[in-house]
Chain length 217, copies 4
Amino acid sequence: MDDEKETKKKLLECAMNEFSEKGYMKASLRNICKEAGVTTGALYFFFKDKENLFGSLVADTLNGLNEIIENHFIEEAVATEALAGGDMSIAALAEAQGFEDDMAIARSVVRYLFEHKEVIELLLTKSQGSCYEHIADAMVDKVEEHYTRMYIAMKGYKSKKELTKEDKFIIHWMSHDQIEIFIHLATHCKNVKEGEKQMENMMAYMIGGWYGVINRK
Amino acid sequence: MDDEKETKKKLLECAMNEFSEKGYMKASLRNICKEAGVTTGALYFFFKDKENLFGSLVADTLNGLNEIIENHFIEEAVATEALAGGDMSIAALAEAQGFEDDMAIARSVVRYLFEHKEVIELLLTKSQGSCYEHIADAMVDKVEEHYTRMYIAMKGYKSKKELTKEDKFIIHWMSHDQIEIFIHLATHCKNVKEGEKQMENMMAYMIGGWYGVINRK
Amino acid sequence: MDDEKETKKKLLECAMNEFSEKGYMKASLRNICKEAGVTTGALYFFFKDKENLFGSLVADTLNGLNEIIENHFIEEAVATEALAGGDMSIAALAEAQGFEDDMAIARSVVRYLFEHKEVIELLLTKSQGSCYEHIADAMVDKVEEHYTRMYIAMKGYKSKKELTKEDKFIIHWMSHDQIEIFIHLATHCKNVKEGEKQMENMMAYMIGGWYGVINRK
Amino acid sequence: MDDEKETKKKLLECAMNEFSEKGYMKASLRNICKEAGVTTGALYFFFKDKENLFGSLVADTLNGLNEIIENHFIEEAVATEALAGGDMSIAALAEAQGFEDDMAIARSVVRYLFEHKEVIELLLTKSQGSCYEHIADAMVDKVEEHYTRMYIAMKGYKSKKELTKEDKFIIHWMSHDQIEIFIHLATHCKNVKEGEKQMENMMAYMIGGWYGVINRK
DNA sequence: GATGAATGAGTGTTCATTCAT
DNA sequence: AATGAATGAACACTCATTCAT
């Protein structure tokens, strides 16, 4: 399982470099092979095509990420079920939400991001032109489901049906922004430690934003 | 006399379509010309090269946008100079900040976005590979200057020197997010009216976020 | 006659620069027009095509040069009729040949070259691709006629028929080299004065060469 | 096993024809491929670009030529070290210089030229626009070093410092002319035998020229 | 006299991909 | 498991030239 062939390994390594440098579209298979010291035929023995090569680089990490995101936000959703929104101060809200617990979870997400930093960056910022170019959107969708439940809970709605068009719009935005936060951390912090520290401010921003929205008259 | 020649017009029109469909990199000049019913030579009579063709599509709008952004955020900065951050409720803060006035300005930005919706989308989501690919970052930088001043005022700092690494990081994020808000509005709302309405929630989110950050202990 | 139209003048001037910089083939009419501040149509009003434009630049000078060369070498031929080759020292030969007179004529050629230096260089070193690319060969042919007579005289032949294949070959070479001398002077000396001075050594070389050939056993 | 693949061979062959016919600049890669019966991609499999294709045609021959020229002129320089110039007759000089020995060497140069006649012609008369366009000049420079030493010896100078501007000019010319002699032989004789025969007259011319210069008062 | 517009064929070069061996 | 060879379509771009106005 871990005895991946030498050549395949080298190819993946060089593909990583090429895609990271130039992005999916501008990356040249010819170049990857040259760098790896093999011919294009070898590449096509291991990988179906350009897309598949890119996929081989990111698939595992992407799956892991999807799992984590789902788990994270399921837990968060559950945790916040409790707090129907009132007019509390941010400090109070943070407490009510079990901020400390939540942070622990978010930290585990961030930790994952940095464990796979290179691939995550590839996936989120260098995939334009591949079938992964809208992957962030897919993640947004996943987050959105859970945020919808959370939003309903905080608004004190009885059912999904009470959601207005405006509710849905802002939920989508906040889901989108949650993903943007992760992307931003992964691309702007140089290691986990920094990532975790900066994340705290980012989460404060996000939570503040949520209550800004929830408490709007 | 008609200001722009038939052919040039047609060329710009077809270029708009091609770039919007495929993005800058994948767009084919050959294709644009074929669609416009002229030879490539004709295109090169009107435009220096691919970049210049793209530029002709977006330059005016971009300039206008830059102006508006600068004006918008200068005014906002001035408006908020007054309110050194305390521990107020969001409602109180919104009032203190002159939320209503600010909205008026933001609305004018949004109105501009929708007046040039097509081009704005082109510029912000289809320019990869052209010299405009980092245009959003450039706009972030502009916003960041003003947000830095605003942050200092709200934090009650005496000078820029008091800004920690974490302060700078979150300021950059919030600047980035402001631009994201505009992009999101331009790409997710179908007209000005909807844009202006959704913007109000987005601004509530943003202001909430700011105070979430400012009031963190 | 001298009131050549402004535009035509400007065009010729810019063509001169372009051809001199890039040579005939790489020169771009588009570029010439741009530099002259007119459109290609204007160029085609004055000149039939690229070749004709180049021709307009060099025709007069070329005619003058042809005249001079003919005259020069007719006179030289006549002057040397007298000296059937013996086994004299170079000094003696120079005298016998009326070296001083000859120099005077050659000087007038060189003077002409430098009066039209720019065009001469254009013609002799930048015309590849045009119909003038073998112009030097044409000049060689002219010189060759006269050198043939001179050679016959010096060898003491009774008629052209005595010329062997080897005689003809070396005559052709020496004619070729005479032209090369002029090209070399025109391209390596910065003004008439230097040209005339260096020419003296060159002629000594040439005359020495002739006698090297003539006196070979 | 056959050392060079069919296609590559064919490509080189057709390239040879195209370059010889039209010169480097006007030669069309498309045409070469069409003639060879392959697609442009095939050409680019074997050759990096147009220049490299041309280079593949001439590189070996050029290296060989450079070697020969260096060897030839080193030997010649050594051979003439002995004869500080007096006022001898050409016949005497030729003897003193060991004319016969020298001829043997020159003959070997000429033999090389004819062994690679086609390529030599390509290199010296069809390379304009490629990186080889000034190759003759480079060869002149090499010859010039040796001729400078020879000139100093014949003039009886003690050091390089005694060389005047005029000395340098004529040395450069004579170096240039030596190369011209080779070009002329390669382009005007149809085989080695003729080349070697004509070369003898050419060398007589050259040596005569040298003494014409050296013995000038 | 000159413009502005347009042609159409051409350039060298790059690409992902295929396949017999 | 991998090579070496080749395809064929595409690319952005440049050129000399033409012609109605």
